[in-house]
């Protein structure tokens, strides 16, 4: 029976299926033509168009095949035919696997093979990626389509869900501010996203069962809206998420030797409300550096009254390095900054206060080191993927493509054979997720720029454009080695604000 339903749907929808495949091939072609340095003039423009078209095409085809045998309503012909519901559902799913996933798998594998990646890894990762597309995109769209009669109803339902989503975000933001979502925009946001995807998948399965076995359209729509509210409102607390991240990385005890405390030899500063506290770090190995994933500041009076509580103003992780590039090895003294709202710091007592910092930190460890020519160089490695270099105006560009997990951080230095070198460039994606592929393309694309000249003429580089042809790039890649948390308690006198000359030339009070 599955084959008959599949054949019928193919007869009705083959033009749309061919169009979806054409978009997928076009998308992959565009990606391939973009190469490492976005050289093709048309490809760059096409990519944006293709990305949107790819998503729309999948949604439309998924909805169309489900709505060929509409679930809501009482007059559809299929309702009086002896077609088992499970087989009907399986036929729809199989149709989408054959018309969306199989062509996409083939073009993804072809792209990966063209870039020189091994066939086994390419096929394995493409299968993994397609499973992700089925579970996180196709099944949810099928579920919503099964609760609607046609594409217009589906669009209205989706629009209503977006409105509910936005309303929940707004209400959550109004009541909880940035604390509404502790992991949003951080390096461990993938845990929240994974939970949301699992929730969406569970909701999709519930809706599909309700529709195909009970035909409860109103209840299904209710589940969809309830799911939106749950996805927005159910947030995983930071410490739980960070604990999960530690477990995933397998880093128990890996940072036991690292200590971090307030450097009492240097004074804190207050520049226009941004209070910087010097910290002393030790126990970090030579091939490691620290990433600050979150810093939670608390200022209390000696009596225990909380005067201020807040999280670092930047979201996401940042290398814990010294100000102004003094010492970026993560060893020595670094500055921790907290931005106090003016309303708070202007009323803080000049007396001593208790400063508490709850740090969530990651030890980034060097996993590999490579050397390639600065101009038209190439390096290949399982840990790195494929990286190519090219000289451009005042910079050397380094671009990498990797199937599977890409490194979190790259550290690169331009060096000439006699030993002169430019300052190191550290680039981190600040995302600790295990390999979760982007939906449209399984190849991760990353890179960095190594400056060789300052167009303003203020900075001079030892390796400049005249010597770049003989230079090479020393490239190190880093991955999380351990995650840990430290609490710092320190009694200090908050410094008075000093003027900031950058803000409209006026001093901040």
């Amino acid at each position: 029976m599955i084959a008959h339903v599949l054949r019928k749907d193919w007869i009705l929808l083959w033009p749309l299926a061919v169009l979806v495949t054409a978009i997928q091939v076009g998308y992959e072609w565009t990606n391939y033509k973009l190469g490492f340095f976005t050289a093709h003039p048309v490809a760059g423009q096409l990519l944006q168009l293709m990305t949107g078209a790819w998503l729309v095409a999948i949604v439309v085809l998924s909805a169309a095949v489900v709505q060929e045998d509409t679930i809501p309503g009482v007059d559809q012909d299929w309702l009086i035919r002896p077609v088992p519901r499970t087989q009907l559902l399986m036929a729809k799913l199989l149709f989408l696997l054959l018309t969306i996933c199989v062509p996409m798998l083939l073009v993804n594998v072809a792209d990966a093979l063209a870039l020189g990646f091994p066939a086994g890894a390419s096929i394995g990762l493409a299968l993994y990626k397609e499973s992700y597309v089925v579970l996180c995109l196709i099944l949810p769209v099928m579920a919503l389509a099964s609760a609607t009669r046609n594409l217009v109803e589906l669009l209205v339902l989706m629009a209503a869900m977006v409105v509910v989503y936005a309303a929940c975000l707004w209400v959550g933001g109004a009541f909880f501010g940035a604390d509404r979502c502790p992991t949003c925009d951080t390096a461990i946001s993938w845990i929240q996203h994974l939970l949301q995807h699992l929730g969406v998948l569970a909701g999709a399965i519930v809706i599909l069962c309700l529709q195909y076995y009970r035909r409860r359209t109103q209840l299904s729509r209710g589940v969809a809206f309830a799911g939106v509210v749950v996805v927005v409102c159910l947030q995983i607390p930071w410490n739980v998420a960070f604990g999960i991240q530690s477990w995933v990385t397998g880093s128990h005890g890996g940072a036991a030797s690292v200590s971090i405390d307030v450097d009492t030899g240097a004074a804190p500063r207050n520049t226009g409300g941004v209070v910087t506290v010097p910290l002393k770090i030790s126990g970090v190995a030579e091939d490691e550096f620290l990433m600050a994933d979150r810093a939670r500041f608390t200022i209390k009076t000696d009596a225990g009254k909380i005067l201020y509580r807040g999280t670092n103003s930047y979201r996401g992780s940042a290398p814990l390095t010294a100000d102004r590039g003094e010492a970026d090895s993560g060893v020595g003294t670094v500055l921790a900054s907290m931005e106090l709202p003016r309303s708070i710091y202007s009323h803080l007592p000049a007396a001593q206060v208790q400063l508490g910092i709850d740090y969530s930190l990651t030890v980034m460890g060097r996993t590999a080191e490579f050397k390639l020519r600065a101009v038209d160089g190439e390096v290949r490695s399982p840990a790195l993927g494929v990286c190519q270099s090219r000289s451009s105006t005042n910079v050397v560009l380094l671009r990498c493509k990797q199937i599977g997990q890409a490194p979190v951080c790259y550290r690169a230095t331009l060096i000439v054979p006699e030993g002169r070198h430019n300052p190191e460039v550290l680039e981190c994606s600040a995302d600790y997720r295990p390999y979760i592929p982007p939906p449209a393309n399984m190849i991760a694309f990353s890179g960095l720029q190594l400056p060789t000249a300052d167009s303003a003429g203020l900075a001079h580089y030892p390796v400049d454009p005249s010597s770049v042809n003989e230079a090479y790039i020393r490239l190190e890649v880093y991955q999380p080695r351990a995650h840990f948390q430290r609490q710092i308690q320190h009694r200090l006198t908050l410094p008075s604000p000093t003027p900031t000359p950058h803000r409209d030339g006026k001093a901040a009070s």
């Binding site: 008959h4 009482v74 007059d75 559809q76 309702l79 009086i80 002896p82």
Partner: protein, 250 residues
């Protein structure tokens, strides 16, 4: 004679509105049973419940011995259904529709299918969406007969059809003995009278009468003021509904 359909105290409510209010019906095997009522009497609701398309609020309905709530593919293998509102896959061609349905039914008779298609002059290359209303009903009827169902359910099959087509349908397909029971819902009383062996009158979700046509005339003669035994079905129906409504109003 066993019953192919047994309905006991069937209730269907849409909010406050009661579409069916404790309906009892028994449809004997081999009969051509007409469910007659004005628009909104509950005929279509009854048929949809029998096919497990909608769930009853209360009561039970058994089709070929199976509770309507549990009707699945095995019962649908033996039940043909034609409705004026049936939504067919309009972008399929007639030939493709037959090709799709054929493997769905174990008892599909390809020789009968050829006969039906030829008699009904169904154009194989035409898309279903391009067919007229009458041709679509003929197509639905051919698809419902080709697997020799035990029970054929027809929901307003004559609605919107011209007189010639109605005649053809009744003469060629519905009056021929095919070892099947037919349940037909209609308010086209002239056609029903030519076709039915048994009849049930429904009004506002309530049963007014059920029985053989001969019993109906006898009932009308004794209960509706000495009516003529040869009175038309239309006249008896109107008299019965009027009397029932007056009784309710009183």
């Amino acid at each position: 004679m066993t019953d192919v359909i047994e309905i006991r105290q069937l209730v269907k409510r849409y909010g406050e509105f009661g579409a069916l209010r404790g309906l009892d019906l028994s449809i004997p095997a081999g009969s051509v049973f007409a469910l007659v009522g004005a628009s909104g009497a509950g005929k279509t609701t009854t048929l949809k419940i029998l096919l497990n398309i909608i769930e009853p609020t209360g009561g039970t309905a058994r089709v070929l011995g199976v509770d309507s709530r549990r009707i699945g593919p095995s019962v649908l293998q033996q039940v043909g259904y034609v409705s004026e509102n049936q939504v067919l896959p309009v972008r399929l061609r007639v030939q493709q529709f037959f090709d799709y349905l054929r493997p769905c039914y174990h008892s599909w008779d390809e020789a009968l299918e050829r006969d039906l298609r030829s008699q009904l002059r169904l154009p194989p290359r035409r898309r279903i969406g391009e067919l007229s209303h009458g041709m679509r009903l003929k197509l639905a009827l051919a698809c419902a007969l080709a697997f020799r169902p035990q029970l054929l359910i027809l929901d307003e099959p004559f609605s919107g059809l011209d007189a010639l087509t109605r005649d053809e349908m009744i003469r060629e397909f519905l009056r021929e003995p095919r070892k099947m029971s037919i349940l037909i819902s209609s308010h086209e009383l002239d056609e029903v009278e030519r076709l039915a062996t048994h009849v049930a009158f429904l009004d506002e979700g309530r049963l007014l009468f059920q029985g053989a046509l001969t019993d109906l005339r006898e009932h009308a003669r004794t209960n509706l003021g000495g009516g003529n035994p040869s009175s038309s079905l239309r006249a008896i129906f109107v008299a019965m509904v009027t009397a029932a409504r007056q009784a309710v109003a009183a």
